[in-house]
């Protein structure tokens, strides 16, 4: 289980997160929706300490960690039990696809080179990119890079994977293949927190949807509840702009 309580964060004078609390159960897939500037990406980054929150508590792995005052050791510990999939892929530019997946296995988990190679190759096979294992990121398409990014995350066998708009930097025709892979991750039963704009994906895979706006959680619930019976006016407005109305034939 991973739980965040009372997360606050400002950039200068702008309050990006005003008291956000979210609880995610083991194996649960949570999708966070919201307009740009709603703070959803910042929230995700705070979990992994890529952004330092101004206040808040992270309950994870049986520990309670102060997001503001967390020590080096605690941060490293959280990062070693979570993985992050970046909007812009974040592959190591000087390493091949295989080396990208191996890096954490050998350097963080101290696995032998042979074992790490085996795990990494399996992971690349699983995302359908084994034939590209010796390619550098600059030689791969965006969709391929993102699949390597997902393989890198999955290979570490983390308790939670955080996805930060994993398809929003992709060309439309490459979104499908990437979402397919993310759906497969969901089937594995790994806890996932996904920030995305892909409604149909959210509807298919999410156990729960959280709608954020203006730095607060506006509403949360099962996908059908949020999409078809939203309680809040703000959610309704947001959805009406995203879901094309005329695509529903009654």
């Amino acid at each position: 289980m991973i739980e965040l309580v009372g997360v606050k964060k400002s950039f200068g004078k702008q309050e990006v997160l005003r008291d956000v609390s979210v609880k995610v159960n083991n194996g649960e897939v949570v999708v966070i929706l919201g307009p740009s500037g709603s703070g959803k990406t910042t929230f995700l980054r705070c979990i992994n300490f890529l952004e330092r929150a101004d206040s808040g508590i992270l309950k994870f792995d049986g520990k309670e960690i102060d997001l503001k005052r967390a020590r080096k050791r605690e941060i490293l510990d959280v990062r070693r039990h979570t993985a992050f999939v970046f909007q812009n892929y974040g592959l190591f530019a000087h390493k091949t696809a295989l080396q990208n997946v191996m890096e954490g296995l050998t350097q963080v988990q101290k696995k032998s080179k042979a074992e790490a190679t085996k795990i990494a190759e399996d992971a690349l096979k699983w995302v359908g990119l084994i034939d590209k294992k010796d390619f550098y990121p600059s030689q791969l398409s965006g969709g391929q890079q993102q699949r390597v990014g997902i393989a890198r995350a999955v290979a570490l066998k983390p308790e939670v994977i955080l996805f930060d708009e994993p398809t929003s930097a992709l060309d439309p025709e490459l979104v499908g293949e990437t979402l397919e892979v993310i759906k497969n991750v969901a089937k594995m039963g790994i806890t996932m927190i996904v920030v995305t704009h892909e409604m149909s994906f959210a509807e298919d895979v999410a156990d729960r949807v959280i709608f954020m706006d203006g730095g607060v959680v506006v509403e949360e619930g099962k996908p059908d509840e949020i999409f078809y019976k939203p309680k809040e006016e703000r959610t309704r407005q947001f959805l009406s702009r995203i879901i094309p109305q005329d695509s529903y034939v009654i």
Binding site: F86, G90, L91, V108, D134, F135, S138, Q139
Partner: protein, 236 residues
């Protein structure tokens, strides 16, 4: 006065004989300065309090000082104060037994560290934030992220600048001739001193420097070819 071929060949031989002095001075200084320069740049990049401010002022001011002036100044300070300091520390080596090349090392290392630290700072700017985040996200520590992800990615960015630094250093090492170190140029002049004809010596010295410089360029060419693989598009 004219140009004597046999004098020139004598000078060339003598210049080659002293080339190892120049080469050692150049390469040892380069390696030490590269390490120190990287440390200085890293301290400044992470804005480590006090140290980073100190380095920033020091590097800025020190870059205003020509190597020749620094060399002469340090040599003079050394000559002036050595006896007193040696007495205070109970060192019994007479100043005449100390090779002035250590002043050369000191001066060149200090200057090159400053200039390389500026190149490394530039290279830091060439690496996007997401590379750090990706390192952190898979659980690498700060130091490991630097040594395994960031520094290796800097290599191709740094190579052209480092090549310039190395050739600049090769040429700057020539200045230690001013503090009575025998290197390529002064070595080439040794035969000239017998004949009172200097042009041959200087031309011979120029040739040897030129040759070493060309060799460095060749080295850099191969290094560049091999290190930048990941930046190239297209298939492997």
């Amino acid at each position: 006065m004219s140009f004597g071929i046999s004098n020139f060949l004598d000078s060339l031989k003598s210049a080659f004989l002293y080339a190892p002095v120049t080469l050692k001075l150049t390469f040892i200084t380069f390696v030490i300065s590269l390490i120190l320069g990287t440390i200085v740049a890293t301290v400044r990049y992470y804005k480590i309090p006090v140290l980073s401010q100190f380095f920033s002022v020091f590097v800025t001011v020190y870059m205003g000082l020509p190597t020749m002036v620094a060399l002469i100044l340090y040599n003079l300070i050394f000559m002036t104060f050595y006896n007193d300091v040696a007495k205070a520390l109970n060192i019994n080596i007479p100043i005449t037994d100390i090779n002035p090349i250590i002043i050369g090392y000191f001066t060149l290392i200090l200057g090159t560290t400053c200039s390389i630290s500026e190149s490394v700072r530039g290279a830091f700017r060439g690496i996007s934030k997401i590379q750090y985040e990706a390192g952190y996200s898979i659980g690498l520590s700060k130091v490991k992220t630097l040594t395994r992800i960031i520094y290796p990615q800097m290599v191709p960015i740094l190579l052209p600048g480092l090549q310039n630094s190395l050739i600049g250093l090769l040429k700057a090492s020539n200045l230690v001739s001013a503090i009575a170190v025998v290197e390529i140029m002064t070595g080439a002049l040794l035969p000239s001193l017998l004949y009172y004809s200097y042009l041959e010596g200087y031309v011979a010295a120029a040739l040897v420097y030129w040759l070493i410089g060309a060799f460095i360029e060749l080295l850099a060419y191969f290094a560049e070819k091999n290190s930048g693989k990941y930046l190239k598009k297209g298939t492997v």
